[in-house]
């Protein structure tokens, strides 16, 4: 607040002002065209039938059809399990790794470079790689588990109903832990080292230092990472689609995959848009509750 008052005292220099106005106008135009239009079109399509050829208004008909769809509840359930568990595992691991690397011990910078790689690998490759790793015959994971005597014979991880979802979650965690890691590490590095030194002098142990210095400092970022990653995972499509296509027997079919099926298999863009909008409303409500629960003044900033 104090900072913004300071900003008002200064005016933009006139050439900069002009340039700024042009940039702002371009930016607003871009936002309208690329954000507003597609979203409004999606909402519009969700209450129409036969969208592409000759659209007819059907009110909430598409929404009713979608909720009555055989796979709706299964997909919703799968989506919640996938998104919530993957968010927790990837942010948890990311935090653990960030805390370890932030200790500044040897090997930390190597680890930090390595963890960037999974995040940078294209989803197509990740899906191939994990299909190979978890393959029943050639897979390294099965070979290891059988070799150690944990299993008698290899498991088709992506092919059995019990193991498909855990395999998809493990694969996604492998990729997205890096996201939490980097954002949290950047935040950890901005903590003043003198605070820890003083705490050490005063006899605080590692847990007390984490609770009283580290956690308050990274709390906002941590909650934001959980929020952004969580929302994103609810809409996540590529990785599951390429690895399992939603199988076996729809065990990894999430809402986005069902939307894909509605649009490109059942050729009902209206219903796909309705399901997309429904997920959007659920997430929006979830977001409001999340910010209300977690002191929104601190997290929301707006």
């Amino acid at each position: 607040m104090r900072e913004r008052l300071g900003a008002d005292r200064f005016r933009w220099e006139s050439p900069v002002l002009l340039l700024g106005k042009v940039a702002l106008a371009l930016f607003v135009g871009f936002a309208m065209l690329m954000w507003l239009f597609p979203i409004l079109y999606g909402f519009w399509a969700s209450v129409h039938e036969n969208v592409v050829a000759s659209a007819q208004f059907v009110g909430l008909g598409n929404y009713a059809d979608v909720i009555a769809h055989d796979l709706f509840w299964k997909a919703l359930n799968n989506t919640v399990v996938f998104a919530v568990v993957t968010t927790l595992t990837s942010v948890g691991l990311g935090l653990l790794f960030a805390l370890a690397v932030n200790q500044g011990i040897r090997g930390g910078s190597l680890a930090r470079t390595l963890i960037l790689f999974p995040y940078l690998i294209p989803t197509v490759v990740i899906a191939f790689l994990w299909q190979f790793m978890l393959n029943q015959n050639t897979g390294v994971v099965n070979e290891l588990l059988v070799g150690l005597g944990v299993l008698d014979e290899g498991i088709r991880f992506f092919g059995t109903t019990e193991w498909a979802m855990p395999a998809v979650i493990a694969m996604s965690t492998w990729v997205y832990a890096a996201f939490a890691f980097f954002i949290l590490l950047a935040q950890l590095q901005s903590i003043d080292g003198a605070l820890y030194e003083r705490a050490t002098v005063e006899g605080a142990n590692a847990w007390e230092k984490f609770r009283d210095i580290t956690y308050p400092h990274i709390r906002t970022t941590l909650l934001l990472v959980v929020f952004l990653r969580g929302i994103w995972l609810f809409n996540h499509f590529d990785l599951i689609f390429i690895a399992t296509r939603g199988g076996p027997i729809n065990e990894t079919l999430t809402i986005p995959l069902l939307i894909y099926r509605l649009i490109f298999r059942e050729f009902s863009y209206g219903q796909g848009a309705a399901l997309g909008s429904l997920l959007f409303f659920l997430l929006a409500v979830g977001a409001v509750v999340y910010f209300k629960l977690l002191d929104r003044g601190e997290v929301g900033a707006g």
């Binding site: 200064f10 930390g108 790793m133 934001l224």
Partner: protein
């Protein structure tokens, strides 16, 4: 008073043991992190450099390769369009990095430093657009690009990806600029610097880790994207690597081909990681003194 001093002395001993336990745990976590990340990557490299058919012929894959073969790669580069796909991917990725990072910096700065009407609505709408399903958005994108005559162009893909990516990047830069106190800028203004110079010389250098992170996210979106590229690009000469790879692998290719395409796609990201490493290094030594 004396008791307090005595307490401090007895506390100091287990403190050192605790420190050692913590150090060991830290090493274990870092070891785990390296193994989890490196093993799958090693497996990918291992398979890519095996002669075609090796994985199935003997059954067993040796941890240390017995033979190294470039057969898969020469086949890939001479008999397929892999090089064209690579070029297309580079064009798209550079475009997304420049456009998305610039937009994120400008919007992030405006959101931190200026009050304007509709700011709250704007910041909320950024988040709301992030909640909308990408697949549902792909269809209006298609319609939009069709009416603008941009279908099957890399420019359209850059625009679409930037739009999908911007909510996250703007949030990131917003958070970063919030940590730069305005007093630093004010000091530059008092010394006669223009607003732009103050931003360039004071704010941007401090926000550099954030900018690098935004650039990495942009790179990742541009290089990785599969769905939008598949929808926007119809001509196989325009395909980016992920779409091209999926096309190549649709022809029942073996694991060796799959892994060699994978390695090819992974080379630029790995180079980027090594390049950005130096920037991410900044400030890493702070924790070392304690």
């Amino acid at each position: 008073m004396i008791a307090a001093v005595a307490d401090a002395v007895t506390d100091a001993v287990p403190q050192r043991t605790l420190g050692r336990v913590q150090r060991t745990l830290t090493y274990l976590v870092i070891l785990l992190m390296c193994l989890l990340t490196a093993v799958p990557l090693y497996v990918m490299l291992l398979v890519a450099f095996q002669p075609t058919g090796a994985v199935f012929s003997g059954g067993d894959l040796h941890i240390i390769p017995q033979t190294i073969s470039f057969e898969n790669f020469t086949e890939l580069l001479t008999e397929t369009d892999a090089l064209t796909y690579t070029y297309n991917s580079i064009v798209v990725t550079v475009g997304v990095m420049v456009l998305a990072t610039t937009i994120a910096c400008i919007s992030g700065y405006i959101l931190t430093r200026f009050e304007f009407r509709g700011k709250t609505a704007f910041s909320r709408s950024i988040l709301l657009s992030y909640m909308f399903s990408g697949i549902v958005l792909a269809v209006p994108f298609y319609i939009l690009f069709q009416s603008l005559g941009l279908l099957n162009s890399h420019f359209a893909l850059v625009l679409g990806l930037t739009a999908l990516l911007s909510p996250l990047n703007i949030w990131l830069m917003w958070q970063y600029f919030e940590t730069v106190p305005i007093s630093l800028e004010e000091r530059a203004w008092i010394e006669g610097a223009s607003r732009w110079r103050a931003v360039r010389d004071v704010v941007l250098p401090i926000a550099r880790p954030g900018i690098v992170t935004a650039a990495i996210f942009s790179f990742s979106a541009g290089w990785n994207n599969f769905l939008l590229a598949q929808i926007v690009l119809s001509d196989s000469e325009m395909y980016t690597l992920p779409v091209g790879a999926a096309l190549l692998l649709g022809r029942d290719a073996g694991w060796e081909t799959a892994m060699s395409v994978s390695v090819l796609i992974c080379i630029p990201p790995f180079l980027i990681a090594l390049f950005f490493q130096r920037y991410l290094m900044l400030g890493i030594n702070i924790g070392e003194s304690g």
